[in-house]
Symmetry: C2
Subunit: 405 residues, 2 copies
């Protein structure tokens, strides 16, 4: 198989993308004659092409990073290296959870291109949840994903030389900076990237003036900057997960880097908590609402329990750390990770409510005053989680807080 | 100035070292004719040449890394990259504390060579302290060194892109592994690198069986592996410090890497604490002993206070961290660093007593039973510090523990 790629970067279009795809031998000679190409991305950060042979229904996705990001109408330059990070993270994840990530068929760092499995039969988890769907495997799949990608990338398992080599390979300063600013900084100060209705001004100022809260956020932010524990997905919200009834696929790891162990699972939990809150407005009937919300809380609990059990099993079977057999060392790690996750979940809930990037769960609530009501609840929940990291000691207590919000 | 270096690595000798030195324009044409060359290293890890023009007394040092380490008669390969790390760390340190490190005149990473200031008029601090010398500037100098090198390499000051670039540049897996093994692992298990007299077997087994202690060591070790806070010297014991009455020079940063903020100052304190203990045997007269020990404890206290005050001043004047002005954030950092330092000091005290690399302070005690007595005291002190990290909340309480040992 000979791959002919362009020697320099240029954005692909519906014609040139075929020059990338055809040499891959994914489509045979007959199929190649009738390929349908559709650009399906939103064009803000990446081009995404869906390429299909309509007779065989065989299809794949070509994702190409654009050298800029468009947010609120503004454009700023953004490293193409994120395409390399994304494809390397997908390959790395596939070593331990091949069934939970899209297959990578090809990647080219000059073109900033990843060619991967078509998942058009899946929907984005956020959309499914807002519509009231439930996914029975979700908790088990995300608990497994976070536990396995954590353990196998950690110092508990890897030789320190390999771990340090991986830390360097996944150094991701530009995308980390986006998180540093949009998650951990701007929402906690009067910054012009923030986005919230005037009616929330009082509640937002309460956050800006809450010294105890800010001290905790400062520590969480500092840990994000300094703690290189595990290879994170880096952006594991419900928009980065594709689902269908019996399948879960974690996509878009362009924010991947070595960071604090509690970060990914926190983002997943926070986004389920936001959906849980929004179901008070979305769910059509009380019975429906109650069963949906029960499902969401059970999913949070089962995700943590699966994470914890899977990590424990890997630890017992495969840890190379000399202290792995010392009583309490694993328990300390899980407890610290849990507490940190509560804090990170709180930050995510706050920034998704008043920061630059919102979630449709809350923003799509039809009546303005209902939306405001639940956004206030979200801010209270986020603040409470951050300030009670040490008091919330198990997953049931966490779901109690979310239920009570 | 044209530098003619050999294209590949080979160990220098008293002739070939002149090929490195002569093109540097350090010695003029006349001086170059009468240079005296002496190899003064111990040959275990590095070649060290002292090159002097006897008429002018101008001199410099050429240090060349050897591609192996010799310890207890065994040889194992060791990366030459440590010479690059050392010279880059010296240059980096010189940006904030030029008066506290040897000047670097030239470096060559292929030859693994650093040409630097001659400090023959200084003595190694450990030697001076064992002989009962005191150095009035020591605390202020080391407090300043640790505070400035910490602050200027941290996320509190650097742009995250530069910080992450520095983390990559100072990735130092091979030398970190030596610390991971010899400081944090082997002494806490029955490992053949350990070295202690049979009379200590009971005390050593007590350490190996102390689960509470091992859990704390596991956490300190994990932080060493994962927390990339500041550019550390990485080996700041009293053998890495050159002194004369009014001058302090921190040398040999070949272990430099980004690690936990409390690590360097902990090693300095631990080595003073070991000297403090050994003065019970070394000091000739009670009065002499008392004043020496008072000096050592005051030096520990003043070092921490200088560190803390210098760091605070830099923070107030130059921190770029968005939470720098939030009440309590600096205090949290200093408190965490202090507690962590107590733990690291405990590990250093233990490993210098029963691990592979000992300190002359204890090993040179002439009477065997006196040596054993103070080695037991050292093990008790080290264990107590590790287990009381959270209870010891200020520097006076720490020196009380050391005084009481």
């Amino acid at each position: 198989m000979s791959i002919q790629v362009k020697p320099t970067y240029e954005p692909l279009n519906e014609q040139t993308v075929l020059d990338v795809v055809k040499p891959l031998d994914f489509f045979d000679a007959v199929e190649q004659k009738s390929l349908l190409v559709k650009e399906i991305g939103d064009g803000n950060l990446n081009l995404v092409f869906h390429i299909e042979d309509p007779s065989s229904n065989k299809a794949l996705i070509v994702k190409q990073a654009l050298p800029y990001a468009k947010v609120v109408g503004e454009s700023w330059p953004l490293t193409l290296d994120r395409a390399r990070i994304e494809s390397e993270a997908l390959l790395r994840e596939a070593e331990s959870v091949p069934h939970l990530v899209p297959k990578v068929y090809y990647s080219d760092s000059t073109l900033a291109v990843t060619v991967m499995e078509d998942l058009s039969d899946h929907v984005i988890l956020r959309k499914g949840l807002i519509e009231g769907q439930t996914y029975p495997n979700l908790a088990e799949d995300i608990g497994t994903f976070t536990a396995k990608t954590a353990f196998y990338s950690s110092d508990f398992y890897l030789h320190p030389f390999e771990k340090k080599e991986q830390v360097g390979r996944f150094s991701n300063p530009e995308l980390c900076k986006i998180t540093e600013d949009l998650v951990f900084t701007d929402p906690f100060f009067n910054h012009d990237t923030n986005d919230f209705p005037a009616e929330l001004q009082n509640e937002v100022e309460k956050i800006w003036n809450d010294k105890e809260l800010l001290r905790e956020v400062a520590q969480l932010r500092y840990a994000f900057l300094t703690k290189a524990e595990i290879l994170l997905h880096g952006d594991l919200h419900s928009g980065s997960i594709f689902v269908k009834h019996d399948s879960t696929k974690v996509i878009d790891p362009e924010f991947a880097f070595y960071g604090p162990a509690g970060f990914d699972i926190a983002h997943f939990i926070a986004n389920l908590a936001l959906n849980h809150l929004s179901q008070n407005a979305h769910a059509k009937e009380p019975f429906n609402r109650e069963s949906l919300q029960t499902y969401l809380l059970q999913t949070i609990e089962k995700t943590w329990n699966t994470y914890s059990e899977t990590f424990t099993q890997l630890w017992n079977e495969k840890a190379t750390d000399p202290f792995a057999k010392t009583e309490g060392v694993l328990e300390n790690f899980l407890q610290k990770t849990f507490q940190e996750a509560i804090g990170y979940a709180g930050c995510e809930i706050i920034r998704r409510t008043i920061g630059l990037a919102h979630v449709a769960d809350l923003d799509s609530i039809p009546q303005k005053e209902v939306e405001l009501f639940y956004k206030k609840k979200a801010l209270e929940l986020g603040s409470a989680l951050i300030k009670n990291q040490e008091k919330i000691t198990n997953i049931k207590e966490l779901t109690d807080w979310i239920r009570g919000a």
